[in-house]
């Protein structure tokens, strides 16, 4: 039996829209095309890359812990993601968009949808493996991909290219957001509102670095190494503990309460809103300096090794706090090393450990609901006891 799709399905959608102000198409939906639809196709990627002046990272007032955590993740992506929890209007999204503008550009294979590194073997990438002869590269900005709320699974993992399937009858894979985020950052605002199955999927890919798609007769594996950055407001529901643990760092941000800082925040925001270009120009130098520092830290990272006494102190700290598994210690060590590289230090010292311990451990503690003091206070207490103040 063949059902004529056009006639059959358009009759389902021809009922009037529910809002009175909308201009109503004169007849059934078949001739509705000349309304304000935009054709989508190959130009879609370009449309989403519209350059916009973002609030400069170096112009952010306060929120030191959040900025440091983001820089650490930029120095060493293997730290494993950042979770930013805090009040509304504390500049969480601003900081992450600012970071995107700050990251030094990377070398990527031209035309590769996964922005592969030309220096790496091509085998893992479905594009580069078939185009191995012509792997020219160019400098591309590090992708910082926004995962908007309400994104559907097909757009996240990638799916059958509907247009090519419909017009040419070809079975082709259309890469999704995970492909675009490869070698960069994937940012999820309001991560606690995301559907559970999407969160599980993201964490799984983030941990393995490979996105496996098995749907619609497609079977594709492509690289998807990215730093997951999530933000949320604990007042609107908490995250499951097994999910919390998957993030490398967790920072808490609060609205500044002292007046001079508050005035400064409002003043800079106001200046930026009234003259974005001029404001960005004023902070361009500071942003460039941060970028240089970041590049230098990355170069230094591999040469830094962690002395035994620091490792031992990290282990004792995790033991005192009773964190499960080795993930806490591993993150603590990597984070301290990234911070040492960022600071330009010769070696990874106890002081680096002390600085990063709250971010690296506060979300790994076993919850004791009857303990009134928060997890941050418990980490700080343990740091004082184990490492001395």
């Amino acid at each position: 039996m063949i059902v004529n799709g056009t006639a059959r399905i358009s009759s389902l959608t021809s009922h009037p829209r529910s809002h009175p102000e909308a201009p109503e198409p004169s007849s059934a939906a078949a001739d509705a095309a000349p309304r304000d639809e935009v054709e989508v196709g190959r130009q879609r990627e370009r449309a989403s890359a519209t350059p916009q002046t973002t609030f400069p990272f170096s112009a952010i007032v306060g929120q030191d812990e959040m900025r440091r955590a983001l820089m650490i993740a930029a120095v060493d992506p293997s730290v494993g993601g950042v979770l930013v929890f805090g009040d509304r209007g504390t500049g969480k999204s601003t900081a992450i968009r600012g970071l995107a503008a700050l990251l030094p550009p990377m070398k990527a294979v031209i035309g590769c949808p996964y922005s592969c590194d030309p220096g790496k073997p091509a085998g893992a990438c479905p594009h580069c493996a078939t185009h191995a002869s012509s792997r020219k590269s160019h400098l591309a900005p590090v992708p910082v991909v926004d995962l908007p709320l309400g994104a559907t699974e097909d757009r996240v993992v990638g799916a059958l290219d509907l247009e090519r399937a419909l017009t040419r009858g070809e079975k082709a894979f259309e890469p999704g957001l995970l492909a675009r985020a490869n070698r960069g950052f994937l940012y999820i605002d309001e991560v606690n509102l995301l559907d559970d199955h999407l969160v599980d999927l993201l964490l799984d890919v983030a941990a393995s670095g490979v996105n496996t798609v098995e749907r619609e007769g497609l079977s594709v594996r492509h690289p998807a190494k990215f730093v997951l950055v999530g933000s949320g407001n604990p007042e609107e529901g908490e995250l499951r503990p097994q999910l919390l643990d998957r993030f490398g760092l967790a920072v808490e941000v609060t609205t500044p309460t002292d007046l001079p800082t508050r005035i400064d925040v409002v003043r800079r925001r106001d200046a930026y809103e009234r003259d974005p270009a001029g404001f960005c120009a004023r902070y361009a130098k500071a942003d460039r300096a941060l970028q240089k520092r970041l590049t230098a830290a990355r170069a230094r990272l591999s040469a830094l090794d962690v002395p035994d006494e620091t490792l031992e102190a990290a282990a004792r700290l995790c033991l005192a706090l009773g964190t499960d598994g080795l993930r806490g210690e591993l993150t603590l060590m990597r984070t301290a090393r990234a911070l040492a590289a960022y600071d330009g230090a010769e070696t990874v010292g106890i002081d680096h450990l002390r600085q990063v311990a709250p971010s690296a451990l506060r979300h790994r503690l076993r919850r004791n609901p009857l303990d009134e003091s928060g997890s941050t206070a418990r980490v700080v207490r343990a740091v004082e006891e184990v490492l001395g103040s």
């Binding site: 304000d36 879609r44 799916a159 007042e235 609205t255 005035i263």
Partner: protein, 576 residues
């Protein structure tokens, strides 16, 4: 209602309409609290009158589908064109104009988050149905709030982003003068700087206990807008003072303290809005000028009457704070979650068009017969329906007898049990609520939540003592339970009482009348078919409690010496 107060509110309401019409996106918009009726209509008409000709105004119904809100694939056009065609959602259509959200107090978290993202960036990002696009969506938002009382409020994420919070409940129709007609005017982009006014607005916000920095920022934008509407490019003190009254005053969480009382300790429940006492020593910011005082005074005078009464009222606030309301709303948005598509009959589920097209697409060339009309050949076995997973969450409602002196210790156990259950609820995504009854009535201390942060805050301020209005307690618990059930959840009521009522429904003390009332309430409760457990908290098991449990259709558990751990274990085993 105060005499003449309505007219004054109406005047400032018209001023707000004019300001919003001049720069909808810059102002964010308005939270309009008013019942549906001629006053609200008249204000909306006035607002439309101020808008420039052709400005889009889109009404957003409360149950709007996500694809209609943010846009998606236009199926009809896609099928006739033979290639994907995107369709703008309501938010993109409203670019440059206004979105009017009806019954905003019932808005779910999903739409609220979309609106918040668009208000922040002025853009709408769509990643769905195989589409990836960004559209401009610079709109202003009017939230029509028909909530009654403090517990029903618009999502706090949105309220924080809107400059104006307007309450027209106390305005009578006769007080609404017809709106003066005027066209829209330029936006406030060209108004000059005024660093002093900026600092003064920040100080005023702190004095009023406005924690979020969006408060002073929006006030500053509105001040610039006022200057621009006046045809000036410089910011004057009068502009900033008016903006403080319009934007900051309705956000006040406390009354500005007199200058000398600055050092008194602040309300412990609102630690994050406390002004830093050290700022007095700061050379730049500490010198409070007379202009500052004028602004604080103006803002104080502009605090709406209802809010003023709440702020002046002594005593602990028992109700859940407004800011946490969004969590309780999530229940309705989660009543069914699409879990992908599977083959099936669309008459027995919702047709998933995209998945259907995907299934049919690879076969088009084979199926296409030469000479037949163009169009898609879709066979029955291509048809996919959306597979929803209905996850019914359990909400445990504690109804705690907080009467008498001995209750204090029981209350502590109940608090402990609530927190323990909550900690376990993380993994199961269950919720907990708490109703306490004491003195003359019952209060909802903790609306259904799974947030430990909110639970702790709600429980910390729970007092004990007074008589035992058992009937009121049963009624209140039943009401919460029915609300949960309406939202698609499964309620379980846990009563903690000794079953000895001594305050009747009318609020009058008297053991006999109170006992009868409580049994009547219990029978009504049973008729509603709600699941319940009654924990007898008396030192020795009581007959009265056993009888009450039977009347409620509740399971009876005598727990004379339970601690929080034992109690939560008993409840768990009883509910599973």
């Amino acid at each position: 209602m105060r005499d003449g107060g309505g007219a004054a509110i109406w005047t400032s309401a018209l001023r707000i309409a004019r300001l919003v019409a001049a720069d909808p996106h810059g102002c964010g918009g308005v939270v309009l609290r008013a019942g549906a009726g001629p006053v609200r209509d008249r204000w909306l008409d006035a607002l439309r009158g101020f808008l420039a000709e052709g400005t889009p105004v889109r009404r957003m119904p409360v149950g709007i589908a996500e694809d209609r809100l943010v846009g998606g694939l236009d199926l009809a056009a896609t099928l006739s064109a033979g290639r994907p065609v995107a369709q703008a959602g309501l938010l993109a259509e409203a670019d440059g104009g206004l979105v009017v959200a009806a019954m905003a107090e019932r808005m779910g978290q999903g739409p609220a988050a979309h609106l918040a993202a668009a208000l922040d960036t002025g853009l709408l990002r769509v990643e769905r149905d195989g589409l990836a696009e960004v559209r401009p969506a610079r709109f202003g938002l009017i939230l029509l709030d028909e909530g009654i009382g403090e517990d029903e409020a618009v999502p706090a994420t949105l309220a924080d982003r809107l400059a104006f919070h307007l309450d027209l409940t106390d305005v009578a129709l006769k007080e609404t003068a017809p709106s003066p007609s005027a066209g829209a005017e330029g936006t406030g982009d060209d108004a000059g700087s005024g660093d002093d006014h900026l600092a003064a607005l920040c100080r005023t916000a702190s004095a009023l206990g406005v924690a979020s920095l969006r408060g002073p920022l929006l006030a500053l934008r509105v001040a610039r807008l006022i200057a621009a509407l006046d045809g000036r490019s410089d910011l004057r003190e009068s502009d900033a003072v008016e903006a403080a009254g319009l934007v900051l005053a309705p956000r006040a969480t406390r009354l500005p303290a007199p200058q000398e009382a600055e050092d008194t300790p602040d309300d412990p429940r609102e630690p994050d809005v406390a002004p830093d006492p050290a700022t007095g020593a700061d050379p730049e910011e500490g010198t409070a000028s007379s202009g500052d005082e004028r602004m604080v005074e103006a803002a104080r005078a502009a605090i709406p009457a209802g809010l003023l009464a709440r702020l002046t009222a002594e005593g602990p606030r028992l109700r859940a704070p407004r800011a946490g309301k969004a969590g309780a709303k999530a229940a309705s948005a989660r009543s069914g979650r699409p879990m992908g598509a599977r083959p099936g009959d669309p008459r027995r589920g919702r047709l998933d068009l995209i998945a259907t097209l995907r299934a049919a697409a690879p076969w088009q060339r084979i199926r296409h017969r030469p000479g037949s009309a163009s169009g898609l050949a879709i066979r029955l076995d291509d048809v996919r329906i959306t597979h929803f997973r209905q996850r019914t969450e359990t909400t445990t409602i504690f109804a705690v007898d907080a009467s008498g002196s001995s209750a204090l210790e029981r209350l502590a156990e109940a608090k402990g049990a609530v927190e323990l259950l909550l900690a376990e609820a993380y993994t199961r995504r269950d919720k907990v609520a708490l109703v306490a009854f004491r003195g003359r009535g019952a209060d909802l201390i903790l609306a259904p939540t799974r947030s430990l942060v909110r639970a702790k805050r709600g429980l910390a301020s729970l007092p004990g003592g007074g008589g035992t209005p058992l009937a009121a307690g049963i009624d209140a618990a039943g009401e919460v339970a029915l609300g949960v059930r309406r939202g698609g959840g499964t309620p379980v009521v846990v009563m903690l009482t000794d079953g000895r009522a001594n305050v009747a429904r009318s609020g009058i003390a008297g053991r006999e009348r109170a006992g009868e009332d409580s049994l009547t309430a219990a029978r009504l409760f049973r008729a509603a078919g709600l699941r319940a457990i009654l924990i007898d908290t008396a030192p020795r098991p009581q007959d009265s409690a056993r009888r009450l449990a039977a009347a409620m259709g509740a399971r009876y558990l005598p727990l004379p010496h339970a601690d929080a751990g034992a109690m939560s274990a008993a409840i768990r085993s009883a509910t599973e």
